[in-house]
Symmetry: C2
């Protein structure tokens, strides 16, 4: 059993009100792998440049992830992103994006990566996501992410590839933009009509919502006194969510499993944002994750009260 | 047993992507009363002008609310607000605010209104909120709302009055602005250090979060295919929340009661936004409310999974 993730491996420069990092390991595939590796073997597919060192490779391989599909492009530079967050971390400005080796990226995938039962198509060009899908003929559960750039420049290809997956994991604003529907419920329903049996709306600090044919489920973000760096929270969530489903693959259509997966994704994302980049998730233990999942349960349960409507 | 609410009674002109109303009954005290009246007798305190008709008074009196403290000011005009919402209803622009009779408003309160065991200080000048408190000597549970205008122009008076109540019910952005703390957890903790034993952060479509000494609880907004007019949702939430606590006053410090109150507030607010102004809540039945409370419970429950960490 393994999970193949195809997406960016990057160097990030990030400034938040709590500090900054000039150059640290980042990228969607990286954050996904660090989370999903708690649950299954992750096969990381993506390009890096000559500037990518053994130290970074070692972090990618945390908890046994397989990095043999990480393609080092001679003479190339690793994808670089630079951004700065506003004071409450809910707004961010991209200051630089240098595609580097990503510009010419053509996913190849080893036999092992093609044979994974679970696939996560992180945010890359929709056409490339479709090609990955065509290679992964053994996949039993496929999830996808994307971003506003592809909605605006390659919507048709994106809708096509979403129609071929089991679960779309997007920000709520992206779901609205993708479908042109102001109501998140209507937007999720529209996306499900294209093919996916479930849709997850990521809502930043507010948590995440799950839409399935059985209905609706939502979890708040895990409450934190300090958020240091939100970069990668969505991909970490996806890693926990998809990882948990991989672990329970025979029941991947089961609403109870999807709800539990939401809790693991939420708990993992809450650790991710407590420090810069991969700093926190590198040394995270499963006991810590489990403890926050239990905390989330306590924070969301309530008894039903029988209110009598007699005279007060 | 009764609940006294002091706040605006208004005419609203509202335009949303789903339609518009040139002049309809609105105001914080109005929306609060229509929700809280499911649980207890509500005594509505606020001024109106000559332009306020018997038809509007009859709506205010829905489900037995006592309107004898509604003060009709001869020669005056009722408070008027005009606003327009953006396409996803998450942004709104105020086009006009005419204070009218509210400009000279000085809360008087009848003996009966002063004797209420529960008081809601809707969004008015903090100094007036404090005077109401001083009149309500029998109050056992007091909740307060406010807005960015008072945070920016009367912060000291606002902090003072918040220090005298049991529960502050504010938007999450207001909590951040009020305390200068970017973290909602830190902001709520700061407000609780001033006096209140609980803080509710209203989060619009994302729902609401409750902070108490016992911890954190959050509920998503009830998922709706169509939201017609969000005006008054926060006050309707407060009406359900405070009303439910009034109904269970002996246990108003009980976390279980506060959580249930969150559910009733959330359910009531979800009906409020389905039509313009008071149109939906006027004819709402308690069975409908109870049904959404049960729905919210189903949408937020998950089992704890025991994930083994053996080899996948």
């Amino acid at each position: 059993m393994s999970i193949t993730v195809v997406g960016s491996i990057a160097f990030d420069a990030v400034k938040t009100p709590f500090g900054e990092r000039e150059r640290m390991l980042g990228g969607a595939a990286t954050h996904f792998a660090l989370a999903a590796s708690f649950f299954d073997t992750v096969r990381v597919v993506g390009p890096v440049g000559d500037d990518f060192g053994d130290e970074e490779l070692a972090v990618l391989a945390t908890r046994g992830s397989d990095i043999s599909d990480v393609e080092r492009v001679p003479g190339g530079n690793t994808f670089f992103w630079k951004g700065e967050y506003g004071w409450d971390l809910n707004s961010r400005e991209t200051l630089a994006t240098e595609l580097g080796v990503f510009e010419q990226f053509e996913p190849k995938l080893s036999e092992a990566a093609r044979a994974s039962e679970v696939v996560f198509l992180a945010n890359i060009q929709p056409e490339l996501q479709r090609r990955v899908l065509e290679l992964c003929t053994a996949a039993q559960f496929i999830a996808i992410d994307s971003m506003n750039f592809w909605i605006e420049t390659a919507r048709e290809a994106l809708v096509d590839v979403i129609g071929r997956v089991d679960c779309a994991i997007l920000n709520d604003a992206e779901l609205r933009e993708l479908t042109g529907k102001p109501s998140l419920v209507a937007a999720a329903r529209e996306v499900m009509s294209w093919g996916p049996s479930s849709v997850v709306a990521k809502q930043g600090e507010y948590g995440a919502a799950l839409f399935t044919s059985e209905g609706f489920f939502a979890l708040p973000g895990y409450p934190l006194e300090i958020v240091v760096d939100p970069t990668g929270a969505g991909d970490t969530f996806a890693g926990g969510f998809v990882g948990y489903i991989a672990r329970n693959l025979g029941r991947s259509g089961d609403d109870a499993v999807l709800r539990q997966a939401m809790a693991y994704g939420t708990a993992l994302a809450s650790f991710q944002v407590e420090e810069f980049g991969t700093e926190r998730t590198q040394r995270l233990t499963f006991d810590e994750v489990q403890s926050r999942v239990e905390g989330l349960r306590r924070m969301t349960q309530f008894d039903l009260a029988a209110v009598s409507l007699g005279a007060p």
